[in-house]
């Protein structure tokens, strides 16, 4: 594991850092730890982590401020791991450049999955216009979607929505972000459009719309493709 990828953990709780260290090293990552925001910023610059796990309640600074400072130059994924679980906090962090958000207590399995997705995304910006998810294939170039080799009839908005989510596989996209991307700045409050199209899209894309596996809801925050 000489050239293992380094993950930086910025968290003031020793027990959490220890748990993460055990779990992540067992999964082949190298660990760099910082217990304060200031240390975190230094470590981020010196140890070149592929991903940062950031706590919001730091002793010396608000995690959001650290997030903003990191985002001035650090382009790789940042996952927030915090006890703050209000929707506002989560949306605020995501809007300020966090790639993902997990609330404590968390399942280590889920954290590992999120880390993998985030790293893969940050590295694999493949030029392949065809995305495949199980039996679903999305051709971004020809604007066609196939399921079990059958072409699905999607409206142009439905396609844009699906494509946006699929390109950000595993990542939470906030309602506002999606509305801005698909409908434009003037529609930030029109969440009802999003609900309608999402319901419609699920009926077409999902095997069982009542138990979606691709178009997942993040309560009160947004949607996540797969993951």
């Amino acid at each position: 594991m000489t050239n293992a990828e380094t993950i930086l953990i910025i968290d003031d709780e020793v027990q959490i850092r220890r748990l993460l260290e055990i779990t992540l090293s067992a999964n082949g990552y190298k660990i760099s730890e910082a217990s304060t925001g200031k240390d975190g910023l230094i470590h981020a610059a010196t140890t070149h982590p592929v991903l940062i796990i950031l706590d919001l309640g730091l002793p010396d600074a608000d995690g959001i401020e650290i997030l903003k400072k990191l985002r001035e130059w650090y382009l790789k994924p940042i996952i927030i791991l915090s006890v703050r679980n209000s929707e506002e906090d989560i949306i605020h962090a995501l809007d300020n450049g966090a790639n993902d958000y997990l609330t404590k207590p968390f399942r280590t399995g889920e954290l590992l999955a999120r880390i993998r997705v985030a790293i893969r995304q940050s590295q694999g910006t493949s030029d392949d216009p065809i995305l495949t998810f199980g039996s679903l294939t999305i051709d971004l170039a020809s604007h066609t979607v196939r399921k079990k080799n059958e072409i699905l009839k999607l409206t142009s908005t439905e396609f844009s929505l699906l494509a946006l989510l699929a390109k950000n596989e595993g990542r939470v996209l906030t309602h506002q972000f999606i509305l801005k991307e698909i409908w434009g700045m003037g529609y930030l409050e029109q969440t009802q459009y999003l609900r309608v199209f999402m319901a419609q899209l699920r009926k077409k894309v999902e095997d069982d719309p009542a138990k979606p596996t691709l178009l997942n809801t993040e309560s009160g925050i947004g949607y996540r493709f797969g993951g």
């Binding site: 009802q192 009542a210 809801t217």
Partner: protein, 895 residues
Amino acid sequence: MDFSDNRPNPDELLASIIHEEEKSKRGKLKIFFGMCAGVGKTYTMLQAARVEKLKGCDIIIGYIETHKRKETEALVEGLEVIERSRYDYKSTAVMEMDLDAIIIRNPQIVLVDELAHTNAPGSRHLKRFQDVQELLENGINVYTTVNVQHLESRSETVAQITGVTVRETIPDEIFENADEVELVDLSPDELLQRLSEGKVYAPERSREAIMNFFRKGNITALREMALRIVAERVDKQLHDYMQQKQIRGPWKSGLHLLVAIDYKIESMRLLRWAKNLAYSMGANIQAVYVETAHHLSIKEDEQLNKNINLAKQLGIKFRIVTNNDIVSAIVDFAQKENASHIIVGKPRVRNLLSMLRLGNFVNRLIRYSGNIDVYILGSDNQAKGRYRERFYVPSFTSSLREYMTVVGLIFLTSVICYLVRDFIGYQIVSFGLLFLVSILAIFLGSGPIFIAAALSALIWDYFFIPPQFTLHVGKPEDLLMLIMFFIIALLNGILTSRVRRQEQKIRVREERTHALYQLTKELNTASGMEEVSQIAMKYVRKYFSIDSAIILKTDLNQLDSQVQQGGVINLSENDYSVANWVFKNSIPAGKYTNTLPSNVYTFYPMSGNKGNMGVIAVDQPGVFTQGEEQFWEACLSQISGKYEREFLRNAAKNTYIVSESEKLYKTLFNSISHELRIPVATILGASDTLLSQNYPEDTRRKLYNEISIASIRLNRLIENLLNMSRLESGHITPRPDWCDVHDLTNTVADTLQMELKPFKFSAIIPADMPLVLIDFGLIEQVLHNLILNATQIAPAGSMIRLKLFYDNGLLNIHLMDRGPGFNPSELNFVFDKFYRGKDAKAGGTGLGLSIVKGFVAAQEGVIIAENRVNGGAKFIIKIPVKIQNLNQHLKNEDL
């Protein structure tokens, strides 16, 4: 006297204890008391100050007048002096004591010379003794100087002795309540010697006046007076001490003086004299004024107000009673108040009539007063000539219209009588006119009646009495009749109008009593500060025709920074500081008072039994008359009382809330400690086992699983507790967003995957279900808790059904299970905090359902629990929502 009378009265004892307590919080006042200027009061005071300073006391000079005497100036050196503040008055600068600077400096003791000094206009208080009182209120001890002539009750005697009128006086109360009085004494010879050596400063008067004042006879008399006052004080202190320590002795108390005053200048002397008497007798004293039908002239009214103010200044309680019979009024009042002595003034005898009246008055008073002693104080030469007692002068204050009416009606009646004079005869005419005058007296003032009487007499004489058209009266009996006619007409008119005036006064009183009753009634039905304030301001406006604003105290016992809503007056920052001062000192201030009279408004404290409730500011157009002031005070005390009750009620409510929350806290503690311990015990036990021995893979797996389950349980408890505290603290503000209810059920079913596995779970949503505007997170939590609840109660393998539909503005959520259902008796409690079903399995805090109820209520919805017909529980939730129809949007979509 009965033996029990000799024992200290409990009320008095209590009063003395309260007095002591109040005194301990207040600063102490030490007075250096002398017979006149030049005895060395300031000098002695400074010496005492230096001694204190040596003892390490923080003592400073607030105001000292050295009169450039070298010895005195030498003593000032080394003591800290607060710089005087400057007031510009009529283009001359006046230096006065800087009261605020002293309060801020907050020394242990401050020296303030010449207590009776009158401050320059523009100062906060009119008089320096008020400054000193404020210093004492602030807990600062004060050393000050006073001469005997400055005592209100002695000033007149001093004037009599020396021929110099003293304008600067202090209320006796201040002297009486002083903590310490040190007499600075000097023999007359020594004083005269000092005077001749030029060591005595005297105000700039002519040399002659000074020499006149400082005569040996004068000085001796003043000295005697000063010595006596101090001796009496010592006597009183002994009495107080004996009373407080419950030492039995020849109690002087039980004596109660009642001094009856009127609207004459002599009453002032009467009051001073009575006060001195009361002081040396150790008796209570009270004053009374009897209001009769007598109409007071403006001058008399002014004098009456002066008398009343003097009574207050002397610390004499004062009351007004209304009765036409002065004697019976005084005696009744004296009996009611248990007075032991009645003191009245002797009216000057000028003529036979007044002698008769006096004799009558005194005789009756003595006759009716029974066992009450009566003192009659002789009249005073000084007042002679200043006052002219009058028998009766009709007031000509009626309007011109009344006079015109009188003249017109007399002429009209005369004309009619003239036309029929041959039938009725001229004598009958007089009855007609007399009748008219009597009738008029009921409606008109005494001036017009006087005119009517005179005019009708003239007319009758000139036009009717033969010989007609002359004023000459032929027959002597006619002349007699004419005179009688005139007298009867006049008396009739005057008596009637007197009765009327009396009635008017009584009516005013009645109206006020009624008004007070109305106010009390309305206040009693009011609840909440806001409403009380509205009513108070309304009545102030209604009865006094003045605008007002009310500022209440806060819980911290400070004056609020805002006026109560509805106040018409806008208060400036300066006004607020005045209000604060009034609140702190419990004394009215502002316009028409002695404190800050330059202010636009007048501020009254609203005093309750336990401190002030707040301050009311009024835009008074003039000084209240005596009657008005009594009425105002009565209204104010009603309002303050109501505020006090409101404050007490709030306090009681808060106490109730605290005790309720304590109860809740206990329940929570019991329930939570159990719920916390079980999973923690599981985790500890399982991890211990895992660490200590190498168990087979299968056993380890099971233990891991137990740890996982326990953690989930712990986490759930924490979630519930956090949600509960969010609800409790009122921090739940729903953030409604458009929601596809399918999303909702899917999410909940997903999170509860594990728990729902053993059940047949189905979510039923109609195909045309619209989007609803709700808080997704809250409803998710609601469904989560309800379904989790069902999975914990219902037997494995049974049905759990969730039904959502929209009906008539309401989102309906039904959750049904096939568990045991509710015990009918507990249906009312299932949503109560910490309530756990009687047959509930172990575990659970009883928080889940109360959170559900709270979250539903936060979105203005309701939740009902009921039993299903064929067994099982059913929850019905109805939440008012806005909707959007799905299909409409799809149709708009570009395909």
